[in-house]
């Protein structure tokens, strides 16, 4: 097995003063619409809009799921869109959170429109209780087998009816696959991860991209591909399913959401 080279520059772990800007992790484009998630008071707000219209014209929905901001390492919201549903891992801080129900599958037409989150308790409790029909056994297993969680990073991606969870902790990566009935666990792949990574599906494969830009394809094991090195930490991944491409845009570009996404990408793409 080709050893996965996921070691990251140490300084990435020190970049805790930075964020990815307005949107967490990625923006998905499908059928000329974009899907982006903003985190407000831990709760995710899903923007759905036309890529050729100002981003501000997007309709916004509250996702009863979200992510906390940790002290040491940034863990952006892990989410995906598939079959008109949003899939997400709830990683908020709330005393009612149950790891078993932290994996959410929510039809988009069940989401409530966002006006303001003036009572976060309602949505934090929804995030803790609702929409967790698929037991997140990968989380239970991960927490049962690890105590120190500063270096926990994870992401999910859906492909057909399958859900992949990539969980890295304490220099090990495990890939979990939900086949619609059961979870199966990969072998443990040694690796060093000191910052978050993202996963995406394309051309019947699932890919991992580390925060320094190194890409791997996952075919029962991660296989490192030729990579362009860049700082994914301060960028947002554009998963364009219309033209089957992956791009990265400077996260600061989304300070101005009066522009259409197409224009923002054209002016701020990194690679």
């Amino acid at each position: 097995m080709k050893k996965l080279s996921l070691s990251l520059l140490f300084f990435f772990s020190l970049l805790t003063a930075f964020t990815q800007g307005k949107f967490d992790r990625k923006i998905i484009i499908a059928d000329s619409n974009f899907y982006a998630v903003e985190i407000i008071n831990q709760i995710g707000v899903l923007w759905i809009g036309n890529i050729a219209q100002p981003m501000d014209s997007a309709v916004r929905y509250i996702i009863p799921a979200g992510t906390k901001r940790r002290a040491v390492n940034y863990q952006p919201f892990a989410w995906d869109i598939n079959n008109n549903s949003i899939f997400a891992i709830n990683f908020t801080e709330n005393a009612q959170n149950d790891r078993a129900t932290s994996l959410k599958q929510i039809p988009l037409n069940n989401l409530e429109k966002y006006t303001s989150i003036n009572n976060p308790a309602v949505y934090l409790n929804k995030a803790a209780i609702e929409n967790g029909s698929i037991q997140n056994y990968p989380f239970i297993d991960t927490y049962k087998n690890n105590i120190y969680m500063d270096d926990l990073f994870f992401d999910l991606v859906t492909k057909g009816d399958s859900i992949y969870q990539f969980i890295a902790i304490n220099n090990n990566l495990v890939v979990w696959l939900w086949d619609g009935r059961n979870w199966s666990k990969s072998t443990t792949f040694p690796m060093k991860v000191r910052s978050f990574f993202s996963v995406y599906a394309m051309d019947n494969d699932v890919y991992i991209i580390e925060s320094n830009g190194v890409r791997s394809v996952y075919r029962n094991q991660p296989i490192v591909m030729a990579s362009k090195y860049f700082d994914m930490y301060n960028s947002v991944m554009i998963n364009n399913r219309d033209n089957n491409s992956i791009q990265f845009v400077n996260a600061n570009a989304f300070v101005n959401t009066k522009l259409p996404l197409t224009q923002i990408i054209a002016q701020n793409k990194i690679n």
């Binding site: 805790t16 901001r69 002290a71 801080e93 790891r99 009572n119 409790n125 927490y143 969680m149």
Partner: protein, 425 residues
């Protein structure tokens, strides 16, 4: 009554002296602290920083200042000096507490206002010692000849001195230099000269279940049964919060004093032990009384049925049917009977001890937590009257709908254990 109170204040801040055949009226106008190590304090409502341009003014303004111990406070002051013929030179000096004085300097005039230039105190604050000066009082004097000085007024401000330089605000944790954090950190550990003493003194502040915000408002642990507040900032702003906020507050007061350790923020959950009724995922913090069990399921024989408006409750849990009931037990911060049915709980770890700031309880070992804190284990699931065999609505039969959420519980503490996960805050 008001007039009698104002009179002595006026006498303090203003003086009149006859010298060289002139009458002079002097009023201390303002005092500003500075120094390379002065910390910029944040407003408790997180709306910005506390004004660091003025620490005392004759209009009644006072603002606190904070420094690490061993720092040297610098100050500037303005005096209004009214007379027919203003003097060419005016000398100003100040006498602070504990021999911290500000030497005489020639003050420059703009109109009738003389400015004492930014001047360091003649000695630094004592090193390695937490101090809380609720009233850091400086008696100001002026002179026309640098020999004979006259009272010019008194400034009074609050000054905080931390044991070591505060750890930098940082990251995503929400750790910030809120006024309340300094207030608790320095007031509670005033006089501490070691980390251990500082930690012990601050912890003592949490054990009486009355932790006050800087403005004197008691902060609570679940004053609201389903508090939305899970960050340090929201605890301070709203004076109420979940366990996360209290663990953060305690750790923040230590960080303000320059003390921090990795792996200091522990989340505990039930360990999902398997039972014949499903895995155990929740716990009930003392006290809960276990009534007559229905034994719908042997391993977790007690059943409660959540009311539809369960999460609308303000101060007590809503159940449509209950075999397990919440009682007053372990007191929380400013809360006689706080929320007590959880999936997880947050505890600070300091020097390998477990500080549960939400309840003001210290555990020497991890195992003590289970036996000291909880009445039983539980889990939630969806069911209906047929599923649990109980006529919840009392209509004389068992209905297959609607579904409702149930709590299964056991008082057998050996049925599960806590599962810790630890991060650095």
């Amino acid at each position: 009554m008001t007039r009698f109170l104002l009179l002595p204040i006026f006498l303090v801040i203003a003086g009149t002296v006859g010298a060289q055949n002139f009458n002079y009226t002097v009023n201390l106008k303002s005092v500003t602290f500075s120094g390379d190590e002065m910390v910029e304090l944040r407003q408790d409502d997180n709306t910005g920083f506390i004004d660091s341009e003025i620490h005392w003014a004759d209009d009644g303004t006072t603002n606190p200042a904070a420094f690490p111990s061993g720092a040297t406070l610098e100050t500037t002051a303005t005096l209004q000096f009214v007379c027919v013929i203003p003097p060419v030179n005016l000398y100003i000096r100040g006498f602070g507490p504990e021999g911290i004085d500000f030497p005489a300097q020639i003050a420059t005039a703009v109109g009738d206002v003389f400015t004492y230039p930014t001047t360091p105190a003649d000695q630094p604050f004592e090193d390695n010692k937490v101090r809380y000066f609720e009233d850091f009082t400086i008696n100001w004097e002026f002179s026309l000849d640098a020999t004979t000085f006259y009272p010019a007024g008194t400034s009074i401000s609050t000054v905080y001195l931390t044991l070591q330089p505060p750890k930098a605000e940082g990251g995503f944790s929400g750790y910030k230099y809120y006024l309340t954090v300094f207030d608790i950190a320095c007031k509670a550990s005033n006089g501490a000269t070691t980390d251990d003493a500082m930690i012990d003194l601050i912890w003592a502040e949490f054990t009486d279940h009355s932790v006050l915000r800087a403005d004197g408002v008691p902060m609570g642990y679940y004053k609201e049964l389903f508090s939305p507040n899970v960050t340090l900032g929201s605890l301070i702003k709203y004076a109420d919060g979940e366990c996360y906020t209290w663990a953060q507050l305690f750790l923040a007061t230590l960080k303000i004093n320059g003390f921090s350790q990795p792996n200091n923020y522990m989340n505990i959950t039930a360990d999902y032990s398997s039972t014949g009724c499903g895995s155990i995922s929740r716990f009930l913090v003392k006290d809960w009384t276990f009534g007559t069990p229905s034994f719908d399921c042997t391993d977790m024989p007690y059943v409660n049925v959540y009311a539809v408006d369960y999460y609308d409750a303000d101060s007590a849990y809503f159940y449509d049917y209950a075999e397990v009931e919440d009682q007053i037990g372990v007191m929380g911060q400013t809360a006689l009977n706080p929320a007590s049915s959880f999936s997880n709980h947050q505890i600070a770890i300091v020097n390998d001890k477990y500080y549960d700031a939400s309840y003001g309880v210290l555990y020497e070992t991890f195992d003590e937590i289970k036996y000291g804190a909880i009445s039983g284990w539980s889990r939630t699931e969806t069911s209906d009257e047929v599923g649990i065999g109980i006529d919840v609505n009392g209509d004389g039969d068992l209905d297959a709908s609607p579904d409702f959420t149930i709590l299964r519980a056991t008082s057998d503490l050996e049925a599960a254990d806590f599962d810790p996960s630890i991060e650095t805050w």
